[in-house]
Subunit: 306 residues, 3 copies
């Protein structure tokens, strides 16, 4: 396990989960575990004097706050914006020029953008590290790392882990990034898709379909995602689908004894609140893990550029 | 007087003025006095490494900035949001889930919410201290503490203090919380209500009515509140009422020699600007006192959980 | 050159470039150079424990972020707002009362306001230093200082420097403040105005007109500004004008060998992207210089009030 002080990465930016080779990924998971210890390690001074810019061209309060908490926990300072209407983009400035400007103010740019590929465009012109915090239907690599981190933390290992992916598997960057990452680390994902919301073909081929009951009985991890009402033309159809993909305390009695439930949040009804108090409920810890995982990412990128 | 380092409270959250027993309240006032000293005490390191989240589900720039200044003066870091439209609440997330998420990122949550009872709902699920910075028509306990603090600071004591409450006493959380607190510390509130804007019955019974002239002659403190135009169906009626509840330099010539004027701000016309330069005008110092009072609250809550 | 630790100014506020006498200006430029050194000097502790408030009554992300970065680089903390709709101004509070409130929370107020003269009104009531970060068509003194700073940095001196001002010279605070400042330091501005967008008469008298080709051949600095489409009644007229005031790589082959190109940014098309990679392109360094220049301003004002 890392002492949190070494550099696990030869990484300069993190815009895709593919930027991480196996060693990078293992290093990040170890380093996140270091930062996740209780009581918290004395890591405050690690990035003292550094400035992280959270450039949110579209709002995402959860992601922004966990990156900002991570930066502060390492002693860095934070500048940023959350409202693209107030930036120079509104005056016709290109993304490239905005990034060059921000790179003159900060030591690292964490960016969220509605357009796929925006983070790669930023990387091409930035003099400081870029972290992709979501580019539309593209990537959100730190979400994938924190998903893997939470599984490993609670199940001890990733290799061989049976992971049931439940809900809307068609839309949503989260699952699309998670499946290849799970396969890479040797986990065994199965899909429990709502009808019409199946995985894209290339992923479905590697991810056997299952029913919710079968998955509950067989899996170590149930990874539940939100089914968005607006995906359905017909409200009744939505209600029917929704009801059959609820993970609740009754279902959990039929799972493996040590199975855990994850969810990228926010949830609506797909994980019943009667699960919250059960030992299986790890989705709030998963959310909390966003901080140590993002500490690991920021520390690794910024030590590099020190 | 406190040296600012001890713990006056067995308090875990502060969502209501009733959370504070007499010892808690006295301890907070002493501690605020410590932080209010000039030159400022070297308190910067007290909350170093801690993160305070300002979760403003409705905007209140004044309250937010004074809490953030208080956190920074103690060396804490701040994350937060001011626009509920950009949070997951907009996607159907419950308040409880949002609070659980924030409690994973920060060491304390200062929350403002438009719905009464929101802070108590938050307290029920939060693993970190909750400070209620206003929940609709509910409570805003640090405002009450800073009102008491400012009176004690300038008048030396609270017991026996005659406090004239002037303006709209019907609406407004501020006065409704202040009256019971004044009674509890042995002060003697009187009410000078605009017609139709009298105190609710249960408070009016403990708070004799007075005219503005009588109150000015008898009181040690005039606590003036804003009369909001939108409460009146008829603009002319508003103008008539408004004009008869103005505290100006001429009125202050008829007050007790050491009487002071307070106002929770913002004011519109109800305290004339010709009062600003008079020694009686303490409303800007009252605003400023929000910082040491909130430092006392944050320090007390966070040392506890250290 | 300053060691960054002395006080170059007897200045209490900075609301106009005219607040700076020649010694103040030279001191600021020297101090900015100190903060601009690579590797960055250990200046983090200089304003530790201080709070800077960025009070943006209208949004300006670029200016706000560079001031906040400057404050953080000096170890100060930052509070602020960017959306006037959420402040008490919306409830009828005067600018003066808002400023008195902020002055109770922070040690310095950096303000942006849509109305000319707002910064001077603030200065009149503030107990802490006011920095004008733009008051409508009024002043934006730190922009002027950073423009001079960038010219001096790359050309070695300001006296005798030939500066071609290109584009919309009629509107825009930037050029109107820059021309008198250039004259004061002994530089020689010439104007290359788009038709109908000439300098106001009093400035034009001191600033000979030129064509873009002549200016390119003669000047040490081309200072290009954006021509805003909305200034033209007729889109075709705009297109014609716009096209004839583009600085591109081809034009730069006809400039003096060491000439540089500046632009306050954001740019649209008036500096072609084929210039970006040329040694002449200094507009991104100019943007970056906003940080050391604003560090110099904040350090000078806040040491004073320590």
């Amino acid at each position: 396990m890392s002492d949190g002080l070494e550099e696990p990465m030869g990484l300069r930016h993190l815009t895709s989960i593919h930027d991480l080779d196996d060693g990078d990924l293992a290093g990040l998971l170890d380093r996140a575990a270091f930062f996740d210890r209780e009581p918290a390690p004395r890591s405050a001074a690690m990035l003292e004097g550094r400035i992280v810019c959270t450039a949110f061209f579209e709002p995402s309060t959860r992601t922004r706050l966990s990156f900002e908490a991570a930066a502060h926990r390492l002693g860095a300072r934070v500048i940023g914006f959350t409202d693209p209407a107030t930036t120079s983009s509104a005056k016709g400035e290109t993304l490239e020029d905005t990034i060059r400007m921000l790179a003159g103010y900060a030591d690292c740019i964490v960016m969220r953008h509605p357009v796929k590929g925006a983070a790669d465009r930023a990387k091409a012109v930035s003099s400081v590290p870029i972290v992709n915090a979501g580019d539309g239907p593209g990537e959100h690599p730190t979400q994938t790392v924190l998903d893997l981190y939470t599984m490993r933390k609670h199940k001890g290992t990733l290799a061989g882990l049976k992971v049931g992916l439940v809900g809307d598997l068609k839309h949503g960057r989260t699952v699309h990034s998670l499946v290849p990452a799970l396969l890479r680390v040797g986990a065994k994902p199965v899909s429990v898709a709502a009808p019409g919301l199946e995985l894209p073909k290339e992923l479905a081929a590697k991810c056997p379909a299952s029913t919710l009951d079968e998955a509950a009985a067989a899996c170590d991890v149930l990874y539940v995602t939100r089914i968005q009402k607006e995906r359905f033309a017909d409200g009744k159809e939505y209600d029917a689908v929704k009801g059959s993909f609820v993970v609740d305390a009754a279902l959990l009695k039929r799972t493996k004894s040590q199975a855990i439930v994850l969810h990228p949040l926010p949830r609506v009804d797909e994980v019943a609140t009667d699960v919250d108090a059960l030992p299986a409920a790890k989705y709030f810890d998963q959310a909390r893990s966003g901080v140590p995982v993002r500490m690991a990412v920021l520390a690794s990128l910024l030590e590099k550029s020190a």
